[in-house]
Structure formats: structure tokens, C-alpha cells
Symmetry: C2
Subunit: 140 residues, 2 copies
DNA sequence: CGGGATCCTTCTTGATACTG
DNA sequence: CAGTATCAAGAAGGATCCCG
């Protein structure tokens, strides 16, 4: 019922139902989630492999991200009761379907991050998008 | 030079350059940014229109988001020195190029948020992706 | 090896009040 | 109308220590 109803307007995508976008975004829009998904794209990986593949992540965030993804049904967690504990994580079909979107974002990021960087540098100089006025006065 | 170099591997997308992704993601991965971009998709809008179109946003976040987007060169800000101040925001070409990626995410979200929701509900019951053990154990 | 539980610091965000 | 300036609450994240 609350689906993507057909809007008669021009290009109006999400009427007033921004809700579900924010909901989904709050999960997969997070950087670690994105990186985790992309890292799992090639195939299943173990906890330590993931941690190694995602440089800046802490085990706290990795664990949390992994659990969220598992709870959302985007990945599966398989624990092998071996002597040296081994746990493998793998994308589910649902998770794989997200890959495309993630790739789109990633590709865009790869293609334009240079442009964005220079834009930011410029506005930094011209003071265009200047913000940070509040709390900046911590001259104490 | 740090672009999407061709990797010879299987599906390896981002070598060890997760950096730029996180960088871009930190800006456009944010929910307000996504919503703002999508809201501006149809065409230019004024500040108040944007605020009205994005229900939960506070003027602080709207202003901040708008400035970030402007600084990144994703939108343009045009102020008309009229008696009732009027400022219009519009996507730039760069901003429009992001639309696709945003749409991809949005579409995916629209298509699967229901599925995700039920998955989450299930794991909530089965305790699969259960986290929040800390402080939760007030069962003493 | 794979986490679970904690502590503590920083960043983010919302509510509010004021201005050109 | 279109922001700007502050403040305080809360969430997010990192570093640690510990266990099975």
C-alpha cells in the first residue's frame, strides 16, 4: 500500500514517502556497509579477511555491520565448529541485488571524486559553500 | 591516477583505495543529501520548497546539506535580491549525473525495503542478527 | 580465530532564538 | 523568506580487555 505509487507529476519520485528511503539508507547508506558489501562481492570471506580488506574498520564496526547485514538478509553467516574457529560471510541473492546500486555509487564516486575534490577546494577559497561558523569560535 | 584502475582479478573492484569511496560516501551517502538531490531532480526549488518537500529535515540540516552540495559543485545557488528574499537551488550537470546512482539506490530501496523489513523482523525473533546485548541484559 | 562487553571521546542533529 | 548562531542531548565510532 505504501509502495511506490505512480505519480502523475513530471519527475516526482518519492512523494512524501521519504520514510522507506531513509530507512534503507540508514542501513546500507553507511560507509562500512557499502564497503563490506563490495568486499563480499567476489565471494565469501571470513571475519579476519574482511577486516583485512577494509583497512580502517574496527572490529566493533565490522561485527555490527555484519550483523545488520545478516539481520537484513543481505548476507549469510556460516560458522564452522572447527578447532580454529572459522566463520564465513557471503552475500545472499538480495545482497547481490544491492551490488548493482552500490556499484553505481562506487563508479560515480570513482569517476567524479576528483571533480568534487577540486570543486570543494575552489569553494573553500572563494568561500562559496562556506559553513562552520558555529562552534568555530572555540578560540579559548 | 588513482582512478578505477583495471584489475586483473575476478571481481575486485576497489583495491586498497577505499579512501575515495568513503570520502564521497561521507557526503552523498547521507540521507538528507540523497533526499535533497532527489527532491531537486525535477528542477530548481527554493529553500522553503525544499524544506516542505523533505518532511523531517530541520533548517540546520537543510542549510548544511545545501552548502555541502554547493561546495561539491552538485547544485547551484541563485539568490534573487528581491524584497521577499528568494533563493533557488538547482542541480548542476555533475549533480544530475549523481541522480542515476541515487535513483538506483532508491529503486532498490523501494523494491526491497519490504523484504528487508520482514527479514529484520524474522531475525529479531530468531535472534539471528541480534546485537544490543550490552546494557540489554538488565534481566538481573 | 571471532567476537562480546565496556568505556570514553567526537560528531551529528534537532530545537530554539535572532537577523538582514 | 532565508538563513545564522548556540546549546545540549544522543548516537556513532574507536580502543581495550576478555572469553569460548
Amino acid at each position: 500500500m505504501a509502495a511506490v505509487r505512480q505519480i502523475s507529476g513530471p519527475c516526482r519520485l518519492w512523494p512524501e514517502d521519504n520514510a522507506f528511503i531513509r530507512d534503507v539508507l540508514d542501513r546500507i547508506g553507511d560507509k562500512w556497509t557499502m564497503l563490506t558489501i563490495s568486499t563480499l562481492s567476489p565471494g565469501s570471506l571470513r571475519y579476519s579477511d574482511l577486516q583485512a580488506s577494509i583497512p580502517g574498520i574496527s572490529q566493533r564496526m565490522l561485527t555490527q555491520t555484519l550483523k545488520h547485514l545478516e539481520a537484513d538478509g543481505l548476507i549469510t553467516r556460516t560458522a564452522y565448529a572447527e578447532v580454529p574457529p572459522r566463520v564465513e560471510y557471503e552475500l545472499t541473492d538480495l545482497g547481490r541485488s544491492l551490488q548493482d546500486a552500490v556499484m553505481a555509487m562506487a563508479s560515480w564516486a570513482a569517476e567524479h571524486h576528483g571533480e568534487i575534490a577540486s570543486n570543494r577546494a575552489s569553494s573553500e577559497l572563494t568561500g562559496v559553500g562556506r559553513l562552520r561558523a558555529a562552534g568555530d569560535a572555540a578560540t579559548t
